[in-house]
């Protein structure tokens, strides 16, 4: 689960990491009222759960209420890579002297968190890693966390001034603590700035939480901003489906994540374009299939739907039953191609044939068939 910048900053502030003051507004007037309290210039920052908002024009420094109203009006409602901006963060403009990077990720290879710091702040860390890998110091975080001596070493790597190092070291220790205690999979300060007055602050903040750990953090789970996510993905999650929207025309309903990816790939291989990733899970029930069909048929770009079910734990007849219920309840006008193999395949075929539907048993054959049907429907 991705947190907004303002939510991430709340976590940082609570952990003792200095962050500049800021408040969130969802309308222009509210934004102006907040800015009056801080005094101009202020920065207006789009709160959207995707990167690249700066490049998209979602961040603006303004010097007056008029400028602010104009900028906030333009940013609120703006579409950034498919997501609508519903809130802006208003924060006093900082006098930046130099900027750094500090972030924690999971190092999958070494199976432990990794702290990365870099004097090249304000740019994508991946970009830095590609162009100047020597500018990144990597510190593996073992069960001890970040011992103070390593925090001091990292601070020295970033800044020459001992007074600044003294501020940076505890920030890094606290960042490691936030990552661990909140079960984050990413905790990033970019940039970590030194102001002209010699103060170190987290000017931007990004926290991604481990979805699997949200059960033990009800306070964090409550931060989920459903409005900021794709509504279909929100519905899918509530129904226990794993769904990602893509931009093709062939919908697919698959059991298992690996098979679902392979199905998307096969659609592209045979010349089609997948409309989504959708995993109905292992022990699927008819309701899930119905929910899946509902989501797919709402998408106007979907011209045909492919069911690809390999029965193991999933019983093919359960899926067939769910599909038939869905067809009864929804008005489905697009062609459906079904591929079934495995557990209770025979029963499933009987159920479907009573409605005049035929299930194929080969994946390639089914993919070619659905592409052909989609082309006819176009």
């Amino acid at each position: 689960m991705n947190l907004h910048e303002y939510q991430s900053k709340e976590l940082f502030r609570a952990a003792g990491i200095p962050v500049p003051p800021g408040e969130v507004a969802s309308g222009v007037e509210e934004a102006v009222r907040i800015a009056e309290r801080f005094g101009y210039p202020v920065v207006v920052k789009a709160q959207v759960l995707i990167g690249g908002r700066g490049k998209a024009g979602g961040v603006k420094v303004v010097g007056s209420p008029q400028e602010l109203a104009l900028a906030a009006g333009r940013i609120l409602g703006m579409d950034i890579r498919g997501l609508t901006v519903r809130r802006v963060l208003i924060t006093p403009s900082a006098d930046i002297d130099r900027e750094y990077y500090a972030g924690l990720v999971l190092d999958r290879k070494n199976e432990m968190p990794l702290l990365m710091v870099s004097p090249a702040g304000g740019i994508d860390i991946e970009e830095v890693a590609r162009t100047s890998p020597g500018k990144i110091l990597r510190i593996p975080i073992d069960l001890r966390g970040l011992p103070p001596y390593r925090a001091r070493a990292a601070a020295r790597f970033l800044d020459k001034d001992p007074a600044i190092q003294k501020q940076i070291a505890p920030i890094l220790t606290r960042l490691v603590r936030v990552y661990r205690d909140q079960d984050a999979s990413l905790a990033e300060i970019n940039p970590l700035v030194v102001t002209k007055e010699g103060k170190v602050q987290a000017l931007d903040a990004k926290v991604v939480l481990d979805d699997s750990a949200l059960d033990r953090h009800p306070d964090l789970a409550a931060m989920r901003d459903l409005e900021a996510e794709d509504p279909d993905e929100v519905e899918a999650r509530s129904k226990g489906l794993s769904y990602v929207k893509l931009d093709g025309s062939i919908g697919c309903v698959v059991n298992g994540a690996g098979l679902a990816m392979a199905t998307m790939d096969l659609i592209q291989y045979h010349g089609g374009k997948p409309a989504n990733f959708l995993d109905i899970g292992g022990s699927s029930n008819p309701e899930k299939v119905e929910a899946a069909m509902g989501i797919l048929t709402r998408d106007a770009r979907v011209r045909a739907v492919l069911f690809n079910i390999f029965g193991g734990i999933t019983r093919c007849d359960d899926v067939a039953r769910g599909l038939l219920v869905a067809l009864d309840r929804l008005s489905v006008r697009i062609p459906i191609v079904i591929r079934l193999t495995g557990t209770n395949e025979k029963e499933a075929r009987e159920l479907l044939s009573q409605r005049g539907m035929i299930a194929l048993s080969d994946m390639d054959e089914a993919v070619r068939a659905v592409i052909a049907r989609a082309a006819e429907a176009a």
């Binding site: 979805d211 893509l246 098979l259 392979a262 998307m264």
Partner: protein, 325 residues
């Protein structure tokens, strides 16, 4: 023959009284796996499908000589279940549970370092050695005894590939799903080394997917030290960056972990990469071909055979000749 599990495997099911545990215990018994014990704290003395239930793994091991554990407990309890199995001296621990927090697995990983237990999973379908033993949830109906080792990060995609191999007459020595999480106990490299040592495995199918760099590491290892033919497949070519594709570990982040990159690494290492699952049986058959040809040559051209009769007849690893180091 097989890798990791076989006739000798005596299974204890952790979480045997739960819905999944009980259901899959039935499936393992039907496959004639030796399921010797179950564990659910507080339910010692009960029986599930005739299998005795104990309060702890330690008791189960003492009473039944279990040497393999399979875990079906809810994700929140899985870390403790793994610790209990490891501390009871179980050499092979297979964790099926899905949705374990990453932090729990970071701790498990650190604990396992230097300890003799091997963990398979979590978030995996387990293993099956056709005709011998099944530990986990893979359907027994799709496998067939043979010489292909199959290792995969996925569940149903593994079934798909195994089923296509079986239909093509290519049986399997052992099929294993290593799990779709960012941190798993057994990786591709571990399985490749085990298949390499197994005299009854003659070729390997590796099914990878987006996320992480295990496939890249596997490609390097194969180039360095695997002499048996390997055929690879990577799922997720059409996956958009930054989105998790069902599996917790299946995510392209910061432009790395893409299917394209992984496929390129395999190709650079001289490993055939299947473009679709249905290409896999053909590539495996082709990879096994030269050996048959060599044998034929032996019959037809006695001169050449005379020059190296020992290598052709004695060597149990003829693939080593084809693939340079």
């Amino acid at each position: 023959m097989s890798v990791l599990i076989g006739r000798h495997t005596r299974v204890v099911v952790q979480g045997i009284t739960g819905r999944d545990g009980s259901f899959h215990t039935r499936g393992m018994l039907d496959y004639r796996t030796q399921v010797v014990a179950g564990v659910t704290p507080g339910k010692g003395g009960e029986r599930v499908h005739g299998v005795p239930v104990f309060d702890s793994v330690e008791q189960a091991v003492a009473k039944t000589g279990a040497n393999c554990s399979v875990i079906y407990v809810p994700a929140a309890l899985a870390q403790d279940a793994i610790y209990e199995a490891v501390d009871s001296g179980i050499p092979l621990v297979v964790c099926i549970s899905e949705g374990i927090p990453v932090r729990d697995m970071v701790e498990v990983s650190a604990y396992l370092r230097g300890r003799p237990s091997r963990l398979v999973g979590p978030n995996c379908p387990g293993l099956i050695s056709p005709g011998l033993s099944k530990v986990g949830i893979m359907p027994g109906s799709i496998v067939k005894p043979g010489k292909i080792g199959v290792v995969s990060r996925s569940g149903t995609l593994t079934y798909e590939v195994v089923w296509q191999l079986t239909r093509a007459g290519l049986g399997q020595s052992t099929c294993i799903g290593i799990g779709g999480d960012p941190i798993v106990g057994t990786r591709f490299q571990d399985m490749l080394a085990l298949y390499e040592q197994d005299p009854h495995t003659s070729a390997i199918v590796l099914i990878g997917e987006i996320g992480g760099s295990d496939e890249e590491d596997a490609a390097q290892l194969i180039r360095r030290s695997i002499t048996k033919p390997v055929v690879a497949f990577v799922a997720g070519q059409t996956a958009p960056p930054g989105k998790r594709m069902g599996h917790a570990g299946a995510i392209v982040s910061g432009g790395s972990g893409t299917a394209q990159e992984k496929m390129a690494r395999f190709q650079e290492a001289g490993i055939p990469v299947a473009k679709t699952p249905s290409e896999i049986p053909g590539l495996i058959a082709a990879a096994l071909q030269p050996r048959r040809k060599a044998k034929l040559k032996l019959v037809r051209k006695p001169k050449r055979a005379a020059a190296k009769p020992k290598r052709a007849t004695k060597s149990k690893r003829p693939a080593a000749r084809r693939r340079g180091r």
